[in-house]
């Protein structure tokens, strides 16, 4: 059977790269004593699919991995047992069993569903931005930046450099949790809570985003996935360039808040833990 795991990645674990996280979870399932499905052949490996690889240095409240399981217990027990074998910096907040695809229906992977993601980008303590002294002035400048019709950046590709307008790929911006949540209500599809308890288990867990004293931060929703993809680093770089501020990639802590798929009918977003495929 196929199941989707939702987990947080934080603290020192932000330095663990995507491929190592994959190996980490393969071993974690073994430690927890669950047999997973293996690919066929002489070099069998666990069938595992991550929704959207998280870069080194980033933290997250919403990482998703789909896994094929041979042995499984109730979602609640799964969450408890898997958390029991994880190290500090990984925390499972949800487990749900996915429905098998109908005959003739195309198999989906977590990766192929992704279309959007929310990020919180914060200025780390100990770093300053030339010319910006308060969070108010940061917010004013960012609002100006976001208010523009076009934000053109030069993207380097293998062959040549290309001008890209990233503005349409930014679908929401806010500066505090309340307005971020309000913005979310407008763009999320209205899906009632999971009905089948034997298939779902989620825990409310506080956000693991680091909090900094300077309080200079921005929430943003960006296109993510194979069709259109925008990295939060690129937005910050464009913002800094626009305002004549030196862009220091180490100055920003990027934290992923959620990953979504877009409902084809309504155009609204659905977080991956609300999907049963």
């Amino acid at each position: 059977m196929k199941a989707r795991l939702k987990f947080q990645k934080y603290g020192a674990m932000k330095f663990i790269g995507h491929l190592d996280v994959m190996r980490y979870f393969q071993k974690a399932f073994r430690r927890a004593g669950y047999d997973s499905e293996y690919s066929k052949g002489f070099n069998p490996h666990q069938i595992m699919s991550f929704a959207a690889p998280l870069g080194v240095g980033l933290t997250s409240d919403a990482e998703y991995v789909d896994i094929g399981l041979i042995t499984c217990e109730s979602p609640e027990t799964m969450v408890k047992n898997i958390n029991g074998v994880l190290s500090d910096g990984f925390y499972v907040t949800g487990f749900h069993i996915l429905s098998e695809p109908e005959e003739n229906e195309k198999k989906t992977t977590a990766m192929s569903l992704v279309s959007s993601a929310d990020y919180l980008v914060s200025l780390k303590d100990g770093y300053s931005l030339d010319g910006i002294v308060s969070k108010e002035s940061f917010q004013d400048l960012f609002n100006n930046f976001y208010g523009k019709q076009d934000i053109i950046i030069r993207k380097k590709t293998k062959k040549n450099d290309m001008d890209v307008n990233i503005r349409p790929m930014i679908t929401m911006v806010s500066f505090d949790e309340m307005s971020y949540n309000k913005g979310l209500r407008d763009c999320l599809a209205d899906i009632s809570k999971p009905i089948y308890n034997e298939q779902y288990h989620f825990i409310e867990s506080d956000s693991k985003a680091e909090v900094y004293e300077n309080d200079i931060k921005v929430y943003m929703q960006l296109d993510t996935g194979s069709a259109s993809n925008l990295k939060p680093e690129l937005v910050m770089e464009a913002f800094c360039n626009e305002n004549g501020i030196f862009f220091n990639p180490y100055a920003w802590q990027i934290h992923r808040l959620e990953i979504y798929t877009r409902d084809e009918m309504s155009g609204k977003l659905i977080s991956l833990d609300r999907l049963d495929k």
């Binding site: 934080y10 603290g11 020192a12 674990m13 330095f15 663990i16 790269g17 190592d20 190996r23 980490y24 393969q26 071993k27 974690a28 399932f29 073994r30 430690r31 004593g33 047999d35 293996y38 002489f42 070099n43 069998p44 666990q46 080194v56 240095g57 074998v85 190290s87 500090d88 910096g89 780390k124 180490y250 802590q253």
Partner: protein
């Protein structure tokens, strides 16, 4: 949340930051303030190498099972972080607590190969511990060395407060108990060293001075502290069969050299190959109990989640319960996707059966280590493997579907002639010919024979410790000769030839059999920027040659000289169990090309019997019964 010693900015600007953050699965977490003794265990090479070492995992567990001790780990920072730490004056820290090593009571450094010596100096300097032991104060940690290279600790004697000779299971607890006593009694470091020098296996180099003859050889060791022992007797764990084995080993986040469960099935080796130091210093051969190993395998796989288990020993085929153990592992774990790897296995019907069950024949290759190209030279080195056995094993393997063979040889072995070198090419060709004896419709494509040669380095406590070693020029001549001989073979297109660098081997030779005068050379080489010498991309031969010249020390004196049988060796201060008279007897037999049977067949009184256990006692018991 755990604090980290390095800032995000530094961690994100170096390669593989996971090397420095600790927090791995099965890491011991203790409150450093709640313990009496803080011990930092160091492997002076990069994390991925150091984390793969079994010995440290065992000691890490032994020390941490003591409630009064917190044992942590440190590895050599890679060159990128090394540069940043110097630039920003960041002290080296332990992975667990991320605290500076300078605050610890002990820094234990494992000495697995000579080419890590400059990295020891790096670790000391980055920790802000004076490099020379004589410059350290009461505030500095006590620096301990151990592991195979401690059997000749003299080239690095000046950098260590004490060496622990032998197996860690045996006396580490005593070492720490005395430390606790001394600490609470307010005794000085000197008083501590005087006290522990009374324990077997503890060598305090500062208690001895060395006198030299006019020809540069050692005249004698002079004790400057009268209660220091005349010779330091190695420590052995004689109850290995039930000796504790760590069943919750650390699981690193990043891929390391040994990304698997390692099960030590036995210690020591009955074979007695005359070039092999491990085969001598780990005597007597002791097996672990098979039922205990089965239990360990089960616990280790479930505590780590590893997908592979590997058996560790110098010669797995000699473990008496090998078949039982291996078939148990296959039955129990094979269906769960656990891979079983069996290094150092003799190729025979059993091993081929096992390998065909656990590996993909098409992808795996067979490994033989004939070590020498002719039967004459294999007899000289006492390598029991015959040409018949190699060809027979290869044929059987080819018939079972393998078509790739790896062959390991050494060049520069004592008494070696050009015929012996040609023998390497001929033997490789014969193996390829065996393959083409198989009917064409049963063959799987072409055969591939990969020949690798390394240069022989004479090591202390082996029958070849008196031998002259070849110069790099002689080595390169031999390597070219082999290249041309391979090109003359019928199946030359199926034979690929790899070789190791001669210059690294030369330096390894000097450091292996060197004396205390080399400490200054190592120090100067490090000052010139030598570090990670075992990594060919960092090894800088010219710098080493320069510091040897500047110190007026000749490489030839250490390498290119047949030593007199009465010469006093730097490592004579150590009693490794095997006696010098046995080694001389073996050297004479080697020169005559006479083989010595293995320990199970006949005891040749090497001296290890005095430890009162292992194979020495087993064969005696068998004889009594028979």
């Amino acid at each position: 949340m755990r604090k980290l010693a390095l800032s995000d900015e530094i961690l994100l600007s170096v390669e593989k930051p996971a090397r420095y953050i600790g927090g791995e699965i099965n890491m011991w977490v203790k409150d450093p303030k709640a313990v009496d003794i803080r011990f930092c265990m160091c492997f002076p090479d990069v994390y991925e190498i150091g984390m793969s070492h079994l010995g440290i995992q065992i000691l890490y567990d032994i020390l941490n099972r003591r409630e009064d001790t917190y044992c942590e780990r440190v590895y050599s920072p890679w060159v990128d972080l090394d540069r940043l730490m110097r630039e920003k004056d960041i002290p080296l820290f332990a992975l667990e607590s991320q605290d500076p090593i300078k605050e610890f009571d002990f820094l234990g450094i494992t000495l697995q190969y000579e080419m890590c010596y400059t990295n020891i100096l790096q670790v000391l300097e980055l920790s802000k511990i004076p490099i020379y032991a004589k410059d350290r104060t009461e505030d500095d940690p006590i620096v301990i060395g151990g592991g195979p290279c401690s059997y000749n600790p003299e080239p690095i004697a000046d950098f260590f407060d004490l060496f622990y000779i032998g197996e860690g299971e045996a006396a580490y607890n005593e070492l720490l108990d005395i430390y606790k006593e001394c600490k609470s009694a307010g005794k000085s470091k000197r008083q501590y060293l005087e006290q522990v020098a009374q324990i077997d296996g503890i060598y305090v180099p500062a208690f001895y001075d060395v006198e030299y003859n006019d020809d540069g050889t050692i005249k004698r060791f002079l004790k400057n502290y009268e209660n220091a022992p005349d010779r330091v007797k190695k420590q052995v764990e004689m109850k290995l069969s039930e000796a504790y084995y760590p069943t919750r080993p650390l699981v690193p986040f990043i891929k390391t050299t040994q990304d698997r469960v390692v099960l030590e099935i036995q210690r020591g080796c009955i074979r007695g190959c005359r070039f092999c130091q491990a085969g001598m210093i780990y005597r007597p051969t002791r097996e672990r109990d098979v039922e205990y190993l089965k239990k360990c395998a089960f616990e280790m796989l479930s505590s780590t989640g590893h997908e592979e288990i590997s058996l560790s020993s110098l010669s797995s085929s000699d473990y008496s319960k090998l078949q039982e153990l291996v078939y148990f592992l296959i039955d129990e774990f094979g269906s769960k996707g656990v891979n079983i790897s069996l290094p150092s296995l003799r190729i025979d019907a059993f091993s081929l059966d096992v390998m065909s069950k656990v590996q993909d024949i098409r992808k795996s290759s067979l490994t033989f280590a004939p070590e020498a190209g002719s039967q004459r030279l294999r007899d000289v080195i006492n390598k029991g493997l015959t040409e018949e056995a190699i060809l027979g094993g290869a044929t059987e393997a080819f018939q079972s579907g393998w078509n790739r063979v790896k062959l390991y040889f050494m060049m520069g072995l004592p008494t070696e002639t050009e015929e012996d070198i040609e023998g390497i090419a001929v033997l490789s060709d014969k193996i390829a010919r065996e393959y083409y004896e198989i009917p064409k419709d049963q063959r799987q494509g072409k055969v591939s024979v990969v020949v690798s040669t390394s240069f022989f380095v004479p090591k202390p406590f082996t029958p070849f410790q008196w031998c002259r070693m070849d110069t790099p020029d002689e080595y390169i001549h031999k390597q070219k000769l082999l290249r041309s001989k391979i090109n003359e073979q019928l199946n030359r297109r199926s034979i690929k030839y790899n070789w190791h660098g001669a210059e690294i081997s030369e330096l390894e030779g000097v450091l292996a059999r060197g004396d205390r005068r080399l400490s200054k050379v190592i120090y100067d080489a490090y000052r010139l920027g030598c570090i990670y010498d075992s990594w060919s991309e960092h090894f800088d031969y010219d710098k080493w040659v320069k510091v040897f010249d500047e110190n007026g020390i000749s490489i030839e004196f250490y390498n290119c000289r047949e030593r007199d049988e009465n010469e006093v060796f730097p490592w004579d201060i150590i009693d490794a169990g095997v006696s010098k008279s046995f080694l001389i007897r073996e050297y004479h037999r080697a020169k005559k090309g006479v083989v010595t049977p293995n320990c199970r067949m006949l005891c040749y009184n090497c001296g290890a019997k005095k430890f009162g256990g292992g194979v020495c006692v087993e064969i005696q018991e068998a004889a009594n019964e028979g």
